[in-house]
Point group: C2
Chain length 337, copies 2
């Protein structure tokens, strides 16, 4: 492999000049620029990113932390992020935390060791982590989830309250009155906000929030199954279900099917996340669609802007909030969609 030294020799110049040409730094005589470029292409030279990173004390690598890569929502964020990364010459490192704090901590340490150029986090608990250290060293963007502990970190979010409110209102408009909520863990901001949206929609209709109509899961499918079973087989059963994320909706849907209840006649059904199956099943499921891909792209743009800024630590805290979309399908109205 040719090094910058080889290029310098080939062009009859110093490495400093070559470096300046390559990085478009400082003024260099046009003729020499040409000579350098010729030498570069003659030798097929490519700068060694490791040498560069060592000297610059920064790597053009972005990290992405999520709790579950296999979940379509996170996979989609990842995809959006990856597209921007490639376009802008960044590499994308992946970390699947599985909501495990220790893995999260370990990975943040890695980001520091490698001097990543930025990091996007959609991960587990946001309280006990080393985010403080991290955010002094590199641009950090929270995506999907925020934490009250970190009011000064940029974030790209979805208007969860609005989404939940719209879905529950829609169920109410279709004459469901005992709407059960399958909520997520309340220490996760999204779960909290969706619960709030549910409550506020009920409030708008003058309906009180009944504790026995709320079951809390863990955002994974099995808990959705359990929660749905409980809500639907109670003494005073729910007549509709609103599920706080796509994973739990899988479980909830399976439970409803196993119990032989017919949607939408016996039970209304709506959920957050527009996963593929939700429009394939019959009746198709009404969902609150999150712009996941755009979430990833938006996070990337924040990273890029921070990098370009002279002082990445200065500037306003960015809170980019994207709007979800209620997609009405067959599962939420008795008379057909």
């Amino acid at each position: 492999m040719a090094t910058i030294r080889d290029v310098a020799t080939e062009a009859g110049l110093s490495t400093a000049t070559v470096s300046r040409v390559l990085n478009n730094n400082g003024r260099v005589n046009g003729a020499l620029v040409a000579r350098v470029n010729e030498a570069v292409s003659r030798l097929g030279y490519r700068a060694n990113p490791l040498g560069r990173a060592l000297r610059r004390q920064r790597t053009p690598i972005w990290g992405f932390l999520a709790s579950d890569i296999e979940a379509p929502f996170f996979a989609s964020i990842l995809h959006g992020l990856e597209g921007q990364a490639l376009t802008n010459g960044k590499l994308l490192m992946l970390c699947n935390t599985g909501e495990d704090l220790e893995r999260e901590r370990q990975y943040i340490q890695t980001a520091l060791d490698y001097q990543f150029g930025g990091i996007v986090i959609a991960a587990a608990s946001m309280t006990a982590t080393e985010l403080d250290v991290l955010k002094d060293e590199m641009p950090v963007v929270l995506v999907d989830r925020v934490s009250a502990s970190y009011p000064d970190i940029d974030a790209v979010l979805v208007n969860n309250h609005l989404g939940a409110h719209a879905a529950v209102t829609h169920l109410l408009e279709n004459d469901y009155r005992r709407i059960g909520l399958i909520a997520g863990p309340s220490y996760i901001s999204t779960a909290h906000q969706r619960r709030a949206g549910y409550c506020s929609a009920l409030g708008d209709y003058g309906i009180g929030v009944a504790d026995d109509l709320i079951a809390t899961g863990d955002f994974f499918a099995p808990s959705g199954y359990a929660a749905a079973t409980a809500l639907v087989t109670a003494d005073q059963p729910a007549d509709a279900l609103f599920v706080a994320n796509g994973q739990m909706a899988v479980g909830a849907y399976a439970a409803v099917r196993d119990l032989g209840l017919s949607i939408p006649d016996q039970l209304g059904f709506a959920t957050f996340d527009d996963d593929l199956w939700m429009k394939l099943v019959d009746p198709s499921i009404t969902v609150v669609r999150q712009p996941a891909y755009q979430l990833g792209e938006a996070a990337a743009h924040i990273l890029l802007r921070k990098e370009a800024a002279e002082d990445p630590k200065a500037g306003e805290v960015v809170r980019h909030i994207l709007e979800p979309e209620l997609i009405v399908r067959a599962s939420s109205s008795r008379g057909g969609p």
Copy 2:
């Protein structure tokens, strides 16, 4: 941040000795080892991986190339790989090629530039790429797909022929006789093998392969829709469909539903890949399940073994072939599952 120099000073030793202790290289007096370790923990020292990589001419980073990260199959491979990567102190870089040769080429170049420790490829066309150069520089493992152009590269595969054969045989046993195949692009090895499995199963039953019962898609959903529509609305329509991957199955299933055909009575249905929705729809879909997560893990193990080997280029070519599993559900037999 403390450097190895600081540790050396703190311990009253040279950097060479510290490095030897850290890497367990060469013999060092026990007392000094202790002194180094104390200094390390006193300073909270962590080796800078960039300096190390520059000197060693190798990075503990693995690359993963796939055509579509959002496809559950690849997401699952990714997950398996990522688990092993983290366990073994590797970082995982992601590349979504979208079957685009240029992106693939670009990414391979990146892997060379960064001197990755290994690369796992489940990507686009396997003919025109720079794989030749790559495989001389680092361990390469093909996953899911192989190419005749690269008989000497390790691979972790699924027995596609067997899987397709089993599924089609199962349809035949359930008295479907005009089984349509929605095939993938034949330059992709998996598509080719699944087609062969389909043909051989028909052959076993003394049924000839009819060209008008085979429609070729591109492994994405829209092509599945078109193919299914064509096969089912032909003059002599198919009475069952076997789909060569999960993405096209989405399209095919939607087409069947739009046409109002009832599965399994009017049409048998089976597909490769056990994506989530296939057991949620009613009737549930009979599938050939691929052990995707294990595919990722197995690829990781090959990388690890190669790395440990004194001469990574020597040794047998590994062809690890995992068995798929036929999961019979309701969509493939008229009398119920």
